[in-house]
């Protein structure tokens, strides 16, 4: 069993939240996101274009995407796509 921290960053529709999730060791980011039942997937199973998932500060896209294996202590941030201000 491993424990990861999930941080949701809100916008005008969603609220921000931080919580812990226990996972089996072999679970992937995709498994975690599906178990959270958030409306962040497109019909084809990919992530919605307005959402970004960050694992320990790095966009999951530059890791192994939804197939990235999670480790104990990982911090997963699910946030709206933003660029600057």
């Amino acid at each position: 069993m491993i424990t990861v921290t999930v941080k949701l960053i809100g916008d005008h529709k969603r609220k921000s939240a931080t919580f812990s999730v226990n996972l089996n060791k072999e679970q992937s980011l995709g498994d975690l996101l599906k178990s959270l039942n958030l409306e962040i997937f497109k019909e084809d199973g990919g992530l919605r274009p307005d959402m970004v998932v960050i694992i320990n500060g790095k966009n999951a896209h530059f890791l192994n995407g939804l197939n990235t294996k999670l480790k104990h202590g990982d911090v997963i941030v699910i946030m709206p796509i933003v660029v600057g201000g």
Binding site: I9, G10, D11, P80
Partner: protein
């Protein structure tokens, strides 16, 4: 001119109190388009190397782009270009109705030179310009000065003015527009206006900006709006503006804390977008922009109850928030308001305060030197007091008002290590270690403005996904973002458009052609070339000032201290490797960082190539 341009500009000689109305030159427009491009070209040609930026010999160019005042979206901008106080040629801009109003009054741009013998403002109305006495508003806050000048001239006029900080030549004084709510913030343009005894420019026009082909324009704008609405960030940006960014950037390590020490911040959740949204009482935006990203906020309880002001943008939230260890959002609204009223750039002011807090913590500055008890991280009351001292150059404020680079030189005792600046301009709300193409853009620009080089590639993955931590290929990405922002700002766009990738280069070209009828503008490649020409001319300006590769640098903290936070953990900025890659992508000499003769000729800058020979 078929459209887009008015075809006239003003040359104002403050010393001799003379105003001349001139015709726009076609070659200037073809090579530099407008806005930032025209500003940079005029400053390059007319401000000699070695000119003191705060002397009468420096000039200011206040300019619009050909899309300003047309139905094209996100082009209600005004650009100010000058030899900035830090020394490079610098363009800063603001949104709001000033730009369209200047064109409605009959001018594409204004060149301001010399120095008035007493406080003066320019009154520009329907093709005319007068110099008027501004003694009665000298020393007055920006919002109040704007209101007084409008009451005296025309209630529908737009005002660009400086506050007490500009008058006292605080090196990072801003120029405020939009009744004190919007800033041409960076590079000390307010100090330059102050050095010329120029308090304000007031404009009122009833004219119209013609476009070359109205039907094509309508169609291009319809397409532009469609593209905006399809963009994944549009809805969030429309509803929350740049407040959408703060917490998200903190989580990716791109929102530096404690003067870039990058330690974790307690209570950072107060920056959750929905929490910030609670203060919004009004949504508004610039003319002709469906983004409507600006907000008015109100504080209804606590010590700042009663304050109603413009929403602090992401940069300001950072400058007076995480960078000084402060998570009291209401105090951030107030610190932002005070900067607007005194007329000071929020980014540089926050950076100077963070620098001072760190020096106090380390004992480099003593409490008696600073004159404020308890100036420590997160103490927003002490920050408010320090802000006031800086704006009025009182006590230690007189040293700090010169910016962190010069203040560190004066303070000595190793203070330079904590001065977070490049080429004398304070770093903004991003960590170069956490997005390296973005950092590389800053390291290499003539003036490392916050908004240039936002690397959409590294953050949102548009138009291509690029790993933010890798060094390979970052020269090409930095060049892309710099060139794109330069031609967009020449056309008159808000920097948010290229930053978010709201529209493509084909769309920009379509709008530019519909507005002006200039066939060269129809080709996106032509516009990219204009962008590259502007960046090379900015670079050449720096070379004439004696700048080379040595000035393309980063604070030691960014190069040597790995980020300790979990986000972007262990990252440093690999300066030399990144610079090599950049110069190669640019076609500049790797050893000196000077554009090669071949590159300058390729861009049609033969005279510049000749002029730079003696600096090689």
């Amino acid at each position: 001119m078929k459209g887009g341009y008015i075809g006239k500009f003003l040359r104002v000689d403050l010393t001799n109190r003379k105003v001349a109305i001139k015709e726009l030159e076609e070659s200037l427009v073809l090579n530099y388009v407008g806005g930032r491009g025209v500003g940079v070209k005029i400053i390059y040609d007319e401000v000699k190397p070695g000119t003191n930026p705060l002397s009468p010999d420096n000039k200011l160019v206040v300019s619009t782009g050909p899309l300003t005042g047309t139905p094209a979206q996100s082009c209600s901008r005004i650009f100010i270009t000058s030899k900035s106080v830090p020394g490079g040629v610098h363009t800063t801009s603001s949104g709001g109705p000033f730009g369209p109003q200047l064109k409605a009054a009959g001018f594409d741009y204004i060149i301001i030179e010399g120095k008035a013998d007493k406080p003066t403002f320019l009154w520009i109305y329907d093709g005319k310009c007068e110099l008027k006495d501004a003694s009665h508003v000298w020393g007055v806050f920006t919002k109040e000065a704007s209101e007084i000048l409008k009451a005296e001239t025309d209630s529908k006029a737009e005002v660009m003015c400086i506050g007490p900080a500009g008058e006292k030549m605080v090196h990072f004084a801003s120029v405020m527009t939009n009744d004190g709510f919007s800033a041409c913030g960076r590079g000390g343009m307010g100090a330059i206006m102050g050095s010329k005894n120029l308090k304000a420019i007031v404009v009122r026009g009833t004219g119209k900006v013609n476009v070359a082909n109205e039907e094509e324009m309508r169609e291009a704008v319809r397409e532009q709006i469609e593209l905006y609405k399809k963009h994944p960030s549009f809805e969030g940006f429309h509803n929350l503006g740049t407040s959408l960014v703060t917490l998200a950037f903190y989580e990716i390590g791109h929102n530096p804390t404690f003067n870039f020490r990058q330690e974790e911040i307690r209570n950072v959740e107060i920056f959750a977008p929905e929490n910030i949204g609670k203060y919004v009482v009004k949504h508004y935006g610039c003319p002709n922009c469906i983004c409507g990203c600006k907000k008015i906020m109100k504080i209804t309880s606590g010590p700042f109850s009663g304050v109603m002001w413009d929403m602090p943008e992401y940069e300001t939230q950072w400058a007076f928030g995480n960078n000084i260890g402060n998570t009291n959002f209401e105090s951030i609204i107030v610190l932002g308001m005070l900067c607007d009223e005194y007329g000071m750039d929020t980014i540089s002011t926050g950076s100077v305060i963070a620098f001072t807090m760190e020096l106090c913590e380390l004992g480099i500055l003593s409490k008696s030197e600073v004159g404020i008890p308890d100036l420590h991280w997160g103490n927003y009351e002490a920050a408010i007091e320090l802000l006031r001292k800086i704006a009025l150059r009182e006590g230690i404020g007189g040293v700090l008002a010169d910016g962190v680079m010069m203040a560190a030189q004066k303070i000595g005792r190793g203070a330079e290590k904590y001065a977070m600046q490049i080429k004398g301009l304070e770093l903004a709300a991003y960590d170069p270690r956490a997005a390296k193409a973005h950092g590389l853009s800053w390291a290499t620009l003539s003036a490392p403005r916050h908004s240039i080089g936002w690397s959409k590639h590294e953050i949102i993955g548009l138009p291509e996904k690029v790993d933010p931590y890798l060094t390979e290929g970052k020269g090409r990405i930095a060049k892309y973002n710099q060139d794109e922002s330069a031609f967009c700002e020449a056309l008159g766009y808000c920097i948010m458009v290229p930053a978010f990738y709201f529209a493509t280069d084909q769309q920009h070209a379509k709008l530019a052609y519909a507005a002006t009828g200039i066939k060269q503008f129809k080709d996106p490649k032509y516009l990219w070339l204009v962008g590259e020409r502007i960046i090379n001319l900015e670079r050449a300006f720096g070379v004439r000032e004696g700048w080379d590769r040595k000035q393309d640098t980063m604070p030691q903290r960014i190069v040597k201290e790995p980020i300790p936070r979990k986000a972007a953990h262990g990252q440093v900025f690999e300066l030399e490797k990144l610079l090599d890659d950049y110069y190669e992508a640019r076609g500049w000499d790797k050893k000196t960082g000077i554009p090669t003769e071949e590159k300058l000729r390729e861009l049609g800058l033969d005279d510049v190539a000749k002029e730079l020979r003696k600096y090689r």
